[in-house]
């Protein structure tokens, strides 16, 4: 069976997953992920028409808590673990790219 995945699939998925993969990783994952997907082929071929999907093994519906104020995490403790902070907030690089 031919590999269901191409290099450009892998590059595209890496972009979706926000992973800056190296060339070697793209190469390796094209082969390895293709093998896992091939293994799934027998499952893909099963007739499951009319079978509902299971997203959760032990269904619980409408799990709610009372709408009451309660303590939250301490801001200083949380920010102490942040890679960068400023004025009590998380600091990040520019959000918008420069227009070309």
């Amino acid at each position: 069976m031919s590999n269901p995945l191409t290099r450009s699939d892998v590059t595209h998925v890496a972009k979706l997953a926000r992973l800056a993969l190296s060339e070697d990783e793209v190469e390796q994952f094209t082969v390895q992920l293709g093998a896992v997907l091939e293994h799934f082929a027998s499952v893909a071929a099963l007739d499951t028409s009319g079978v509902p999907p299971t997203s959760h093994p032990i269904p619980l519906a409408n799990v709610l808590r009372p709408d009451e104020r309660r303590p939250t995490l301490n801001r200083d403790v949380v920010l102490a673990m942040a890679p960068a902070e400023e004025d009590g907030r998380f600091r990040v690089p520019r959000i918008l790219a420069e227009e070309a």
Partner: protein, 505 residues
Amino acid sequence: MSSSDGLVGRTAVELAELVRRGDVSAVEVTDAHLARIEALDADVHSFLCVGGDVARAAAADVDAARARREDLGPLAGVPVAVKDMFCTTDLPTTAGSRILEGWRPPYDSTAVARLRAAGAVVIGKTNLDEFAMGSSTENSGYFPTANPWDLGRVPGGSSGGSAAAVAARFAPLALGTDTGGSIRQPAALCGVVGMRPTYGRVSRYGIVAYASSLDQAGPFATTVTDTALLLETIWGHDPMDSTSIPAAPEPALARLEDGVEGLRVGVVRELTEVEGIQPEVRAAVDSARNLYEKAGASVEVVSVPSVEYGLSAYYIIAPAEASSNLARYDGVRYGLRAEARGSGGVPRKDSEVAAMNAATREAGFGTEVKRRIMLGTYALSAGYYDAYYGQAQRVRTLIIRDFARAYERFDVLLAPTSPTTAFELGAKTSDPLAMYLSDVCTIPTNLTGACAISVPAGLDAAGLPIGVQVLAPALGEAVLLRAARALEVGFAFAGVPKLGEEAAP
């Protein structure tokens, strides 16, 4: 008793009783275990972080409470090794990943909070496959753990550090998590008891998320009684976890010795005849069958045909959920941040946030984690969602239905835990699919959300432990543990691996 000699290798029940009676102090118990870790963990590498003074302080609190004549908890003074997936405020929590190196969580996981409330002493955080993704602990972002029975072999995974720590008698108890077999498989490979409770029975609050519809925390111990004791300490409803089961659990410890007279046991044909099964593992399942018959249970073979699709369904569902859960590691709120690099590898401080996210994840995640994020992202991407993720979820329904049919005729099911005993370090690292196949017998329970346990059944010709698995329906912890106890009595496995000077020829 004033010497620390004789304090290691005891069960949690024994240690808690010694501390309660005042025969030894909790600090002495902790020191004895810390000394053993200090002396021997350099060979096993089961801990990412040893509790040291933090553990001693917790033990001193127990001793102070006893001096004040306060009621002591059921695990007062008992050391517990905790897989590094559980948040602990006083010890770093890494999930075995470089992306969380040095992270100090702002709160305790519910399971750890309940341990502390019961007087247990967290002796350290144990090694694991990064984000619990693996079956050998070789995917740890830090170092591999060795199997105490043979230091050239894997302890299994992903909770390999916890299994190895209990096998090496570094602690009588340990916590693990089981998403595809990550408690039971390493328990089997290390010759200890390991149990995955029903999904939602133990709170997932404060446990680093891998695959949220499959993850469940559970106990490791050297005996079934200790396993039940630890389970009863951590289980029960938690309002902080919306998937936590509200109904109170049926007590298990109190019914442990009730025996298996009249119990209906089904041997799962497809898992016992699974491709590549080691003959000695199969023989152990046959022995378990005989032990049950001798103890008054009825045993028959049962077919659960859809389990053959379990592995494939799992390796779509788990990566899909992981790809979503691990999106949070983006270099913004906690953990590593790496700078995007431009041409020539020069850091681009002016780069945009998306480039920083991608650079951080590339630098902080190991290969297996990237592999699963890629697989999961692909399975969820436009055009493939229904063919992969949707189909896997429908197959999950088929497997649940098959097990429900089996449990109409049987109280518990019997199967191998792992098709083979411990394999050599490095044997499967280059072939992800071969590694995934070692979970084939444990995965069905994660897909159905039920409970299962691995019990030591003896050693193979190479002197490596074999585990036999008992499965029960959701919420069936009491019958599961009672059935496991009967096997424990029957097998009477008392093997302890030899380490350090004990191992000298």
